[in-house]
Symmetry: none
Subunit: 205 residues, 4 copies
């Protein structure tokens, strides 16, 4: 299928050349398709990249979705660990592409959906927390969902993309343990009274 070849070629070129050196001509060439055909299926370059994002998101979502389903009825201890592992797997789907999408593609126009998966995951994760309300000890469920989703995404992203050492065979388990522990302690330990003289975050110019 021409469309598939083009999306695949776009992904490969994005990885090889980076976002701003990726040209539609190179993409068409790599797809083994004429530039004319490219424009028969995609109105412009943005749409091409959007399709890549779409496809990549779909794949990530699959991984996360699977984990969420599997874990839906399990207690938090199990769920946390499983979801952390799933987050790592998700980042491993196509790390190089993920890096380019995360670090180079401008979130403008049709391309603003790069973070769609994260939003999705956040929402579904919030639902999960809600269903486990009794087991956890947090004041603001929304805030907790935001904090945990962001944290787990950042840690697994960073580990997979920038710290391969942390995920080396013999250490990966420890990493998962640590992140899981971070999550669980946050959800279950009653926080101590806030420090008295605590200052608020200052406003800057």
């Amino acid at each position: 299928m021409t469309v598939d070849a083009l999306v695949e070629a776009t992904a490969r070129i994005l990885i090889r050349e980076g976002y701003d050196r990726a040209s539609t001509n190179k993409i068409a060439a790599m797809a083994g398709v004429s530039i004319g055909s490219l424009y028969q299926y995609f109105p412009n370059k943005e749409a091409l990249v959007a399709a890549v994002i779409e496809r990549h998101n779909q794949q990530l979502w699959q991984v996360v979705q699977n984990a969420l389903v599997k874990v839906a009825a399990r207690p938090i201890e199990i769920a946390a660990r499983e979801l952390v592992a799933a987050a790592i797997d998700a980042h491993r789907v196509d790390p190089k592409l993920h890096r380019v999408l995360a670090e180079e593609v401008p979130r403008a126009g049709r391309l603003e959906n790069i973070e769609a998966v994260e939003r999705n995951a956040r929402a579904v994760f919030r639902s999960y927390l809600e269903s486990r309300r009794s087991e956890i000890d947090v004041a603001d469920l929304d805030l907790a969902a935001f904090i945990l989703a962001t944290t787990v995404e950042a840690l697994t992203h960073s580990a997979v993309l920038h710290r391969p050492d942390v995920l080396a065979d013999e250490k990966a388990g420890a990493f998962v343990n640590e992140v899981t522990g971070l999550v669980l302690r946050y959800l279950r330990t009653p926080s101590k009274a806030p420090v008295k003289r605590a200052r608020q975050a200052r406003r800057s110019g």
Copy 2:
């Protein structure tokens, strides 16, 4: 003079147009300087953006540095809260610029130093943890430093850049509390035994 105007103009254009629509001609125009003058001070576009990154990093570092100094001899409870607040302040130095640098500028060639501050902060933060070794309960100090620095960066980044609601005047305190709590519980609560049937993160293709 001219150099400053150019760096400032570059930052403004990056914000207004994004990385790949930022042209040296627009930058020169915005700086009120001829294109020739631009090239008298900067060998190419990359160098201009590198200077912006340099300057931005300097400013961020100032903020983080100040907090670290102030907190160097204080107990973790205080330090954690202070550093979270500092991380928020740092992200508030120039959030729009920070967003472009984080999301659009390719880390290639001279531009790979975008994350220099993060590396710096991570290292200095690790030193701090080391000095407080007795107060904390973690197995691997390096790993803990990586986890906490990444977490705090991600949370404050995300809050400042994407979730202004979370930092609204009446809620900012709660956010800082939560993040601080996340950090402290991680550092002080002995983790429970890992879940028995826990699976390791799977290797992907």
Copy 3:
């Protein structure tokens, strides 16, 4: 089509403007083609000029080649005259272009083949001399080939490009006679003993 138009336009612009005022934009305009099309067929300006040189050399070579073939089996007296005439004809193929190529185009990179024809001609001419070894009286065939080829090239070049008077209808015959005479006397007259007190060419700094 387009390629030919571009090469032709390049030649015309080279003649009209000289090498360093010849711009790819002017060339495209003169060819009645967009600048984009120009770069679809030629990777850069150098390649365009190289194509002009190639084409010009081809034409020159045709002329010289024809003469050499016609003369291959003839005695020196005939051959010399014929080749001198051919050299004149060759320089008349496109004298203005020839002047620019000879005097302005830097022999660098892909452009170093400007003198390809001369090298060719020298080699084939040497072969001819070899085949006529018995009729001629020179010590060093290589040296003789170099001397005669250089001489005839220079004289016909100079006459065609700078001394039209010398080639005026009623005088052209005399010029050919003279050059032919120069060549034949060199090839056939045993040189007298070199002057006794002759000094060698001095080395310079």
Copy 4:
């Protein structure tokens, strides 16, 4: 003297960079002078190059002139050899610069005097031939002067600039012998009757 430094720097840059990569800024820098000062002494780049040509021609002329004076009253056998040697010496004054001037500098505007020396030499040489009219056997003195001057220039130019092998210590004498022989035979041997069926040089398009 600033002027001298500039002319010298221009020559050096011409050699190092070629004509069209030679910029006034580089020249000023190499001369250790500000670009402003450069324009205090030379109205434009052309004038600078003209000065280099001027100076180079002066030096060449010196060499040729000396030889001509020394030889003025000597018989042709001596003179020919001496002048050939002088021509070699002249080309050795600054061969690299000579090459650039000969092959890259456009003979336009003020720069058309590149060949001034050759014209000079031709004229003076003609005078010499005239003074030796009785010793030589040529029909047209002008033509003979043109032919010999062009020939000797071309051969010594080519040898010095492109065929160092021909001027290697042990072979230089042979080269001078050959060229001298070429000249003398041309001047003294009565030419045989022109070949009967000789065709004239054809007119080309």
